[in-house]
Symmetry: D2
Subunit: 201 residues, 4 copies
């Protein structure tokens, strides 16, 4: 059986993007043959960098602050330049993204584009969310999956006056979990395919 590793590399300011990150990681861990590394980019150590380098896929998560990724997340991105100049070493890994803010739309799409532009420069392959949108009918509810309507990555919304133990709501966390599972499953497909192609060659 192929063992694949997926890193979830996130920054969280008040814990809410962190809650979403844990949900994404749970989705990865639920897949047979997948191992997850949950990495807080504000506290990177050598083991984290080794996990990132060894991963088959990296899922990037950042809060949306003032319409783009957080400065802390961007610091992490800038510090990957060593992986880029001589390789690029992260080429052909799968990548995906998620973001949280306090409002429903909240310019979160722009943060996902920031994450994606970074991953594209590293030569990574971008996996989005394959979920129909929820919460768009008269009888619809915020409890539906993909309730915000996002496909480039997973979005969550967390009330500004509630604790990360309560928000983002279950539907957003489950949506994030779905993204984690999807990335892990595709990483297995990819790893198997590479092995098959290598054997045939």
């Amino acid at each position: 059986m192929d063992d694949i590793r997926v890193a979830v590399a996130y920054h969280t300011g008040y814990g809410k993007t962190g809650s979403l990150a844990r949900a994404v990681a749970d989705g990865v861990a639920a897949v047979d043959g997948a191992t997850v590394d949950l990495i807080d980019v504000a506290r990177l150590d050598e083991r984290d960098w080794a996990a990132l380098d060894a991963s088959d896929a990296i899922i990037f998560g950042s809060p949306t602050y003032f319409g783009s990724l957080s400065a802390e997340m961007k610091c992490f991105f800038e510090s990957t330049v060593d992986r880029w100049v001589d390789g690029p070493r992260w080429k052909d890994k799968l990548a995906a993204g998620f973001t949280n803010s306090k409002t429903m739309s909240g310019d979160k799409l722009n943060t996902l584009f920031d994450l994606l532009a970074f991953a594209a420069q590293h030569g990574m392959i971008w996996v989005g969310l394959d979920l129909y949108p929820g919460w768009h009918t008269a009888a619809g509810s915020p409890e539906e999956l993909n309730r915000l309507g996002s496909w480039v990555g997973a979005m969550s919304q967390a009330n500004s006056d509630e604790a990360p133990s309560v928000v983002p709501p279950t539907s957003d966390l489950t949506t994030g979990e779905h993204l984690g599972r999807r990335v892990a499953e595709l990483a297995i497909v990819f790893a198997r395919g590479r092995k098959a192609v290598a054997i045939a060659a």
Copy 2:
């Protein structure tokens, strides 16, 4: 008193972006000294083109379909090339944008970027939404202004199974109205300023 004219140039597929367009136009019309031209770009005639050319500001509105502006809206954009090649004739008009889709986020920000990129190429000046976001607290409600959290332009969300007489909801329409009023007020400031500068010169 300066009389200024603001055109609201929109496309609507099922009437919902049209409802938002009317709200934006109402906001313009509520401003003393402002005249509004509500223009359906799928039915442009010579009078509409004259109104667009004569306007101090144009507010562009499009549904978001599959993550970007509608083909019909883009047809209109492409047909403005005559205003661009010899001038550009729309330079320094104010511009703004709005968009509707069935979901809360729904990639609507990308449509606003499409509208803005077009306006920027024409040398127009972009006016966004100066409203704090709503609906982001435990006690918050969808009835609050700017309930989706958007600033590049106005966003509305309309349930897919309800009629344009009912959706988008009042809060989104009032948000659109606010954008119309803001653009008209700023167009007056600009027109007054131009006159003052011309007199001084």
Copy 3:
């Protein structure tokens, strides 16, 4: 040997995006085991739709007009709604994008985001360009690969007063060819991986 099929679905206004499309298609065709369908979306027939549906990957190409994808390309996108509502039927295909305009930057990135947002809504997996940028040193030249510096997709620049037989230049065409080859190779890996996973299950 796995036979995979890659569709190159493009719109061209004056033939320049068409030249790039042919280069991308050549890149696909150069890969052992890959078949290419070059599809002009302004002239779609039933066979084209069948090819799109049967493809392992679709590479989308559009000119950049006024800062976003062309109206013709967007018409095509809107006509795919049948593939989306009941499935979505294009889910997990690979996707990629390219665009041409007359200037070096020319807001082409926004067109790539338009293409990508569409593909993401269909649940497709996005493959970017894994090439270091060219033409950024004192001794650098426009003949270098990825001379414009683009990774979300392939960009080309075509002088406005030259014919599509001459522009875009060879470096841009070769960059497009590289994208086609890359997508085809990854489509084979994916197809092999799916087969391996299916057998294991």
Copy 4:
């Protein structure tokens, strides 16, 4: 005569965005009645914050690193939250943006969107570049204004192996200067208009 103040708030990593910032500032200073404050956001002191608060317009400049604004620039953005929560105090200032990278396109548009999304959240009014594109004909040259083709803001390209005393080239600097002049002239129009409207009220 109205005296208006324009702040140029920039980050530079290796001095190249700094060169562009000085050109933009020169453009502001060339306008009769305009005063410029050139502010390096990595070294903000109380006087800089006072200048930002007192300005009629702020022009934001950042290098493009890995496809988005620099972490240092984003740190500055995040530190403006005090100006936003109680007001917003920067509302209705004019805003504009510029960015440098080593390649021609180089995802710089995404950085401009990052800058713009920030300004929009503050309720600022966005001024783009009103220049026809250059360098897009057989006889065209990199010495033409707006040689990269950008309108949302000003772009420059600086060879990676040359010093900020030599790159970005004159055409890009002159393009930046044009943006500075344009913003200053429009800030005067705006200030005059506000005064006229206030007197009339």
